[in-house]
Symmetry: C2
């Protein structure tokens, strides 16, 4: 099948004190997600009945020339195995989509206050979905050791 | 901020016996995710070290004129409260992004065999990420009753 381009528009933007795309210590970051003007406030109606949200965002600052389409060492760390881009979560990936589950702290009109979003100020948000228990893994998870090491100081 | 359009291309496509966008009974569906030609096979290298994957896909058949940008009753069910589109996971949403955690059954070259993907045959895949325990919710989840009712026969 031929790749047919798909056009997306931001639905919201991230406001945060964090402006650098550094790797670690995102757990206590509190961000505002502000709904874009083309949407009515009702787009967030009832959202605070959920404790957690999935934020789909766009790594807008990831340079096109750094995008990996094959395999690489996660974070460039040669102690970790060369791994396919779809077997890791790094930002320099095709379509530059980021995905993060956050805690919803407060909903006020067009603004969501969230904890633990690993996206910097100005990041375009492509979608927001409520976390439902039923959509989380229903069988036991396993993952390689390198990924546990990589995540050690992430939050 | 003005919405600046973002261009995406599929990275893979879904092959499945399921061709209808019906609501329920996705749990036992086994699908193939086939990597598109522009990527080398190495893009999947090491992926079977993970038991679960997050599939970001595009609801390509959701009609533009049905997209909800405000609030609606989930599944059109008046017994459930009118809810903002970003407080539900329905497909008729801005940017038409679908998100699903699946079990990886087998990786063979350019093909992933997965269980529980709620996407029909021909669906463009925008991204594939490995599930890491550390990216799942780190505090207790809560969600409204309507969402539990809606999910009753989903898997």
């Amino acid at each position: 099948m031929n790749p047919s381009p798909i056009l997306m528009s931001p639905v919201a933007h991230v406001h945060s004190a964090r402006t650098e795309m550094t790797d670690d210590n995102w757990g206590e970051v509190i961000s505002k997600i502000v709904l874009d003007d083309q949407f009515p406030e009702e787009a967030f109606q009832g959202i605070s009945d959920f404790s957690h949200l999935e934020i789909v965002f766009y790594f807008h600052l990831a340079p096109a020339e750094e995008i990996c389409t094959g395999a690489r060492h996660p974070r460039g760390n040669k102690n970790w195995p060369e791994t396919g881009i779809f077997a890791q979560r790094g930002k320099a990936r095709p379509n530059k989509i980021g995905l993060c589950i956050v805690e919803l702290l407060e909903h006020r009109g067009r603004v969501l206050y969230v904890r633990g979003l690993d996206a910097i100020a100005g990041t375009p948000v492509l979608d927001i979905k409520p976390v439902m228990q039923e959509f989380l893994p229903r069988t036991k998870i396993s993952q390689p050791d390198w990924s546990k090491e990589l995540m050690k100081n992430y939050w």
